[in-house]
């Protein structure tokens, strides 16, 4: 089965989450007499996540990865395109329907210091979620709170403590417990370990990974850290200026990337870890999403740019094996340069 973009549908039955040609534009304040500029945060992005699958989303700041995570949860409205969850179109769902949806899709944010109410004891915060969604009978709620805390590596005693008494890593565990309280099928994790010390990060990642397989949880795992995404994801999508550059199973993307942007990102990491000079060097910086380059948006930083890259816009083409990439240069393969 192929959809309108020519993407093969890798999953039967229908995916848990599907975005179809989703765009999100933000209108910026007008400057002078010129028409108000439009920031194209997302431009016709399609993706699918199967039940229990972890899709990694990488890109630099300004790539639109956080916007995509929020659009998927209907925290931000798409300008165009549709969002499907469990096979149903949820793009315009409101009120009670949207609330019911929220019990099945949850989010974990980057900053565990900002995402917990400092004036609420941890046990009460979890209890409130259960109460709001009416998911546990009042008699069972406290038992469920204890179970949730234990599930994330905390203990029953932690119920009566305040958020300020916990370290960053422990707070992120509480945030995860809160997200899991409603028994979601999809978790959007937006940079969930970026604010934590490196010695603590691995513990949170291991927790997410084990919960994911235990609960058959699907995840949209957003991070700027390619090493973290490599460990977490089954498949990875690379965004640049709101467009999809490449999608592939994790192994293919990390060992044989086919897009120069992916290769440049990986080379920048490999250089830091092994020393020496990167094989693919990206020039300059990501341009403003309000004024993207013509043709291929990546061309201004691409070491392999040709004249036609300014004129033609590359389509996302299927290379087989679930590997897709958007590049006019058909001769590029970076497998050997990275190994």
């Amino acid at each position: 089965m192929m959809d309108s973009m020519g993407l093969p549908t890798p999953h039967e039955p229908p995916p848990l989450l599907a975005l179809r040609k989703v765009s999100r534009h933000f209108r910026l304040p007008r400057e002078g007499w010129a028409a108000a500029p439009v920031l194209r945060a997302l431009e016709s992005v399609s993706l699918e996540i199967a039940a229990g699958e972890v899709l990694g989303l990488v890109g630099e700041s300004g790539s639109g990865k956080s916007t995509l995570g929020r659009v998927a949860l209907r925290l931000i409205e798409p300008t165009s395109g549709t969002i499907e969850f469990e096979g149903a179109d949820i793009t315009t769902r409101t009120g009670r329907g949207l609330r019911e949806l929220r019990a099945r899709m949850q989010m974990v944010f980057q900053d565990p210091y900002a995402s917990l109410n400092p004036k609420r004891r941890v046990g009460d915060a979890l209890d409130e979620v259960l109460k709001l969604h009416g998911l546990s009978a009042p008699a069972n709620r406290s038992e469920r709170v204890v179970k949730l805390l234990e599930q994330v590596g905390l203990s029953a005693d932690d119920r009566s403590r305040w958020p300020r008494e916990f370290s960053g890593g422990q707070r992120q565990r509480i945030a995860i417990a809160r997200a899991l309280a409603v028994r979601p099928r999809l978790l959007v994790a937006d940079e969930p370990v970026s604010a934590l010390d490196v010695s603590v990060q691995a513990g949170i990642l291991a927790l997410l990974r084990s919960l994911q397989s235990e609960l058959n949880l699907a995840m949209l795992f957003i991070s700027h850290d390619l090493g973290v995404v490599e460990v977490m994801a089954d498949r990875v999508m690379v965004l640049y200026l709101g467009r999809v550059m490449e999608v592939a199973p994790t192994r293919a993307l990390y060992t044989a990337p086919r897009h120069p942007y992916t290769a440049g990102l990986l080379a920048a990491v490999a250089r830091a870890e092994r020393g020496g000079r990167p094989s693919v060097v990206l020039r300059e910086e990501i341009p403003s999403p309000a004024d993207p380059p013509s043709g291929c948006v990546f061309r201004t930083r691409c070491p392999f740019v040709q004249e036609r890259c300014a004129i033609e816009t590359p389509r996302l083409e299927d290379l087989g094996g679930g590997h897709l990439r958007a590049c006019l240069r058909k001769d590029l393969d970076f497998g050997s340069s990275l190994s």
Binding site: V200, Q201, G227, V231, G275, E285
Partner: protein
């Protein structure tokens, strides 16, 4: 003046970062014999060098007086740095790595009630040595920026939004290199730090530049006074990985070109391989291991250093499809300053802990490999 590397350029008296030391607390007690530290004089970091050190920090203890008591952020740190050398100080939040660096120039926030003990010996261009810890504030001001410059993590907060980048570079030049053609040098500096079209960009305001470009401007301001030491405090942490790669390369190139020494502060052990000559790993206010970078990355001796190297997530691909995902966290969290227990400070999180580890403070010892020091009772067995 080069102080705009850390604050607004119009505040010319330097009191903003260090004045608090004199206004709110007793003067710095420097050079007082430091009897409680077992480290005094014993733990020079790295190889004995034939050239005299540019900077010698000895038994530095920096504590902050807070409502909840005295917090020793740095507790008996000794480090040395030779001309043109790069020393990376690595540690997690609360390790004291930044406070160590900021103590050199007393760059504390207004209102921080900081006390410093120990010596910070700086060798001047004429070969004589002064103790920065004992230097009065006005004299220290002539060292800041001119001899030792600093760049910070957040270039947005360090630049003044109401002045063009050119004006901020010229300010530094006027103070430290009067009589030179500031306009021309400002453009040259921007070109040196890899800013395209510097003639035009010199008139840009900070908000018109990206994060990476602002960090380049900060580096240009730091270089304006041709310092002999550049302190870079997590200079790439706020930047994307591709920009981080560019800035790291730039720092390495500029260090060579300007013949500066570099004190590179980072939480990311992955970054040190490409830039550092030597590394000092800090934990809970102390150096726990130091040595030449290759040696330390190849054969770390301290359990904390090893755990730091191993906690980066890794994935080994298997043809069976069941890939091996390696996630090795260090249990627990770093201790908060002020809540430090007896004995080895890492003991609570250490996989190799024994009963004796929690009895007495552990000293830094010379290890077998030249220039390596380690603070662990069991390093011989574990090495």
């Amino acid at each position: 003046m080069c102080l705009n590397a850390i604050g607004s350029p119009d505040e010319d008296d330097g009191s903003m970062m260090a004045g608090a030391l004199h206004q709110n607390g007793p003067p710095v007690i420097a050079g007082t014999p430091y009897t409680t530290s077992p480290d005094r004089g014993a733990d020079r970091t790295g190889l004995p060098s034939s050239t005299p050190s540019l900077l010698e920090i000895e038994a530095l203890r920096t504590e902050f007086l807070t409502a909840s008591g005295v917090l020793p952020a740095v507790d008996g740190v000794s480090l040395t740095l030779s001309s043109g050398e790069t020393l990376a100080v690595v540690g997690e939040s609360g390790s004291g790595k930044s406070v160590t660096a900021l103590s050199i120039l007393r760059l504390f926030n207004r209102g921080d009630r900081a006390h410093m003990h120990g010596a910070i010996r700086w060798r001047l261009a004429d070969g004589s040595t002064i103790d920065l810890a004992q230097l009065a504030e006005p004299a220290l001001r002539s060292i800041r920026g001119r001899e030792i410059a600093v760049i910070f993590q957040d270039p947005g907060a360090s630049l003044d939004p109401v002045f063009t980048v050119g004006a901020q570079i010229r300010e530094a030049l006027r103070r430290h290199r009067p009589g030179e053609d500031a306009e021309r040098i400002a453009v040259e500096l921007l070109r040196d730090v890899g800013i395209a079209d510097p003639e035009r960009r010199v008139a840009a305001y900070p908000h018109q530049l990206s994060g990476g470009m602002r960090q380049r401007v900060m580096i240009a301001i730091a270089l304006a006074c041709r310092p002999r030491l550049l302190i870079a405090d997590e200079p790439t942490t706020a930047l994307d990985v591709t920009i981080q790669a560019q800035i790291m390369r730039l720092l390495a190139d500029l260090k060579r070109k300007y013949g500066m020494a570099l004190l590179f502060i980072t939480h990311d052990l992955g970054l040190v391989a490409e830039i550092a000559d030597r590394v000092a790993v800090m934990y809970a206010g102390q150096v726990v291991e130091s040595g030449p970078v290759d040696q330390l990355l190849k054969q770390a001796l301290h359990p904390y250093t090893r755990a730091l190297l191993e906690c980066r997530p890794k994935r080994h691909y298997r043809d069976s499809g069941e890939d091996e995902r390696v996630l090795l966290p260090i249990p627990g969290a770093p201790p908060r300053p002020g809540s430090i227990e007896r004995g080895c400070r890492f003991a609570a999180r250490c996989a190799y802990r024994e009963a004796r580890c929690t009895l007495d403070p552990v000293d830094l010892e010379l290890a077998q490999a030249p220039g390596v020091q380690v603070r662990c009772l069991r390093w011989r067995e574990l090495g």
